[in-house]
Subunit: 360 residues, 4 copies
């Protein structure tokens, strides 16, 4: 269904940008995991607007509340975990012009075409606020994967427009990612990225880029042979994020420049453990993890809301123009990092449980 | 589930490379669609081994048989349509060495890690033969979409290694695609591609590339807002194909080089119909079709089986080497074209029915 | 998944008896349905504790709040509708003995066996409070079915212990059901039922019975041929309600006393409309509605909590005894009526959308 | 979806009574289970027409063929197991009158109302031949449950019309069930049942009854708290069988005659193991198994096809009459026994895997 993700560790998100709030129900979480709001809030803080000078200044504390699924002793019960965040800083007036006009390259027109109605304030369900539920649920998944399997999930900004960071997926650390506001572990490039984003914001324009996501410590054997290949579910997860346009795993598009001989990852064994000498497969072969670091890249287009007059049409299908107003991100990448981590964790935890069910 | 795809128009494929055969069950197909094997076979012939000098010479007629779901008058009954193809040209001996050794960058090791057992003959379930069921089911979906909605689905080879074709997604025709054995509608580049693939085959090496898929005539409104975005389901569909490593829709990775002002697709209206003056969105905005041509690209890595000795390990996790034998494709792209079309059709028909259910 | 129901009109409930509250997310509701809390609250009031002298005196206003999915103009947006009710009258102390002991014929032991942990206060997730989400979602489904298809859904108490009501499923009206506190449209039997339940309450004992559910105006053609037969989904829906033990549709268990000749419903046609002269099929044939009144019966066991000492074991698996305390229903039937209606509506709306998708 | 059942151990059946054949795809079966046709055929033989004088004389050997999912060493691969049975004894001419007329209390009219088309030969998809796939898949599930968990699944005829067998669910043995052709382990009553069915057959009439299904050795903890309660999924499974009209678990409808004090199952512990002194719960409490014997009853109506003229309508909706022809069962019960076992096994194996995934 449209608002649910996962088969065994299944989340269902709800909520519009403007309205009571946004939230998520997590069904299928294993019981007896220590869990409280303190496990969730840090990732929401990394996703939050207003966290730095290069993201939207919208003021939302995004304080999460857990409503169900936890015992009085602070353990998961195995029943649905319902979490929500109240909407606070809603300024519908900033959107009043959008009541009649479709923002270019936004979802206004397509929602209207589909549903015959739309929540024009703040983009409604198409708002990035919808990802709050994902990030909250992903924090649970990350904790479970870390404690139960030793899996470590990370994401970071790999590229902003033409600025490309130099990062080693096998070695990068969380603290290096969080060391700067753009969330790029290559400090020098990070500086340039921040300057570029600020320049864009001042120009009323926006910029896109690439986030790289990684998972270390995934045991060999997670994933499925055919439709639910690990890379297929990761691709779906990433392309379901707002503003994402592309996905590649391992060698990705670049891999096509090599021949088969050059591209193949040789297997070697050491002390009864199999590994590959290169990792163009990105840790996944035939849809199933092979024990190497899983890594992939997701491209995010430049944010559609720009502070310039642009051609568009209104709800009566007449030509008009529209100039962006309100408080918007000049670049989604720093806030997309925790989203990528969350979606990665949700894919992996689901496959971990599926693997246990059939083959465990 | 691993071997099923789609929610309302749901297919379930089965079968290994070596064994009784491969097949598919299509559940949820609307009733009273005229259908016979003659609607299915042409796409299977385009997928078939042995069809030209640049694909594997394995001899399989891949003749489809419909076992259920059709009335005596040749119409779909609305009940499951079961189709299958017998395996014919099985030469297990060509794979005997693989009984003990894992082929590099294949699924041998990961299947073994997951299931503790594997069908080593011909790759078993990881064989491209699994896609027969997809292509057969996709032919039904294509026919339904064409007859009921006027939707036209096409795919073609866009790039082989560094050879890039010049194709206009809005104008390319099926007969241009089928005009040559590499299935690239740019005749000049097609020639070069064929020569490159032949050269690779002679060298015992392989090569990858990009297939572009398009859908024309999709009405605005298909798709879903959040997890089941049209581009997310397309990404999953494409990344579930063997050897695929990357996906991009519309401007894709290239779009990040533009700023928001440059990237946005302006809306215009004419005679009460809305359109965009550019199509960097690739026909999808916020997960929902906007009425423009949907187009996307999928990268396929160079085929893993090369006719050269390569480092690998055996089932006892000892180091060894393996040299490819048997009959293999030097490049999957020409045969991937009907697979891409099939998966595109399966995604779209499912969303067409879902849209009708909720909003029709 | 455990906490979701429905394929296209899908609900996910959450919440324990004691905790923040209970709620539901409704995904897949068609857009542009007029909807507000005023459409939901009446059914919650019929389900509410404290509504009469024959139900538990627990004090819960059960005031519903809609958090998402509704436009500022009061129409459904087609996006998830999140609703919740705060828990108010929680008296954990009434349950303190149950912290250590399993209540006989309750879910305490089995939850503990499954999850290794349990929310012992008020039965946690096994509490009838979980049904609040179902009733709230069912109210939306009922409204949609009524306005869009003219389908009328009703339930009423058919039997309490040995007291059997005389009711005509084709003619019974909502106001007759609501005319008394036991929700039995046969006024005379209703009086006896009320006296019996009061007697049981005074004796610290409990009593069970049968609720009959009906749906009038369902067009021929809803349902599915094989596993998702309409009666199969109704059976699952009813058996998923707390304390239910049996289900029968149409002639049910009684039908086995007739021979085929006696049992068959003859078809007749009048003015181009087909009907049956009897309705032992209960409005469903081969899993699909035939246009006649759908009717079925669900048995609810006597409530397990009795105010008498009973043998049981504690969490250390030692023998002990337990006497019921707290505020409990002497008979669930009056409050089960809106639950049966809700589950019936949820099954039918899902099949209505599924039918439209494939055959509409 | 209509033709699929189960979430993790998922089966998809296909096929009409007349046509190429009927079959099933089993997806999600754990790997490395020893499996061959010899494990499947015995249950198909118990379901087969022509097996005795009290079932239809239609001649079908129903020989199963496994097409995929098994290794050359005879073990399941963890990939889809495709099985099918060819249709052999098809006499369409026996159904020619039904081409135009709807059989009373059959699915002819409702299929036509739903799909606008129907396979009139032999009832098409509504034929009991559809259950071949279920029985074949159920045989795998039974084997897995027996070998992996020591779970024993049995069913037997409990009642034919007014003839009620005396059987102890905790002690009844398979060989007692198979000791006579009606599959009733109470030998004396079995004799009477056989005579009654033969009498009915001679009179061109039919008779219904009750099958009891049991599962012994199910560990405490299988099942789910809310919608997917074990009894709910069993109810759905049983009501999805052709001709079934009612389901009850444990005390069922009869339980409403007791008060709560009388009905409750007292817990006792012995050597660290919890059990109940009575079993009115039928082995399930709050949707989850409690370790006691699971038992339930399913009612099957008298077969609709009788050899007497009956009122009906034709496809043009004109009144007419129809007299049953062809070869039909005077009573479905003996052949329903393996179907009940199969559906029970499919429900339990799915919950076994789900339990392992979340709580194992």
């Amino acid at each position: 269904m449209a608002s649910s993700f996962g088969q065994l560790f299944r989340i269902t998100t709800w909520g519009e940008s403007h309205g009571g709030g946004v939230g998520v129900v997590v069904d299928g979480c294993p019981p007896r995991l220590k869990l409280s709001e303190a496990d969730i809030q840090p990732d929401l803080d990394r996703r939050r607007p207003g966290q730095s000078k290069i993201v939207t200044p919208r003021k939302e504390s995004d304080t999460v509340q857990i409503l169900s699924g936890i015992s009085t002793t602070g353990l998961t019960l195995g029943t649905p975990i319902s979490m929500w965040v109240k909407n606070e800083d809603q300024r519908s007036e900033a959107y009043s012009e959008m009541k009649e006009k479709f923002r270019p390259s936004h979802a206004d027109f397509t929602y209207f075409a589909k549903f015959g109605i739309r929540a024009w304030q703040g983009g409604g369900r198409a708002s990035a606020r919808e990802t709050i539920g994902r990030v909250a649920a992903g924090a649970i998944a990350k904790k479970f994967l870390r404690e139960k399997f030793g899996v470590e999930i990370l994401a970071y900004v790999k590229q902003v427009q033409r600025l490309i960071a130099d990062v080693n997926p096998d070695k990068v650390r969380f603290k290096d990612v969080e060391a700067n506001i753009v969330r790029c572990p290559d400090a020098k490039t990070a500086e340039k990225m921040i300057r570029l984003i600020e320049k864009m914001r001042r120009a009323g324009d926006t910029v896109g880029g690439i986030v790289e996501g990684i998972a270390r410590g995934v045991p060999a054997g997670w994933g499925e042979p055919v439709f639910d290949k690990l890379e297929a579910d990761l691709a779906k997860a990433m392309l379901s994020l707002p503003a994402s346009k592309a996905f590649e795993v391992g060698s990705g598009f670049g891999g096509i420049l090599l021949t088969g001989r050059e591209h193949n990852d040789a297997f070697r064994a050491k002390s009864g453990k199999v590994f590959t000498t290169t990792n163009r497969s990105g840790g996944i072969q035939g849809g199933i993890s092979n024990g190497e670091t899983i890594f992939f890249r997701t491209a995010f287009k430049p944010v559609a809301t720009v502070m310039h007059e642009q051609d568009t049409v209104d709800e009566s299908f007449h030509n008009t123009t529209l100039k962006g107003r309100g408080r918007h991100d000049p670049c989604v990448l720093p806030r997309a990092v925790p989203m990528i981590e969350a979606m990665t964790a949700l894919v992996l935890v689901d496959h971990a449980l599926r693997h246990k069910a059939q083959c465990g």
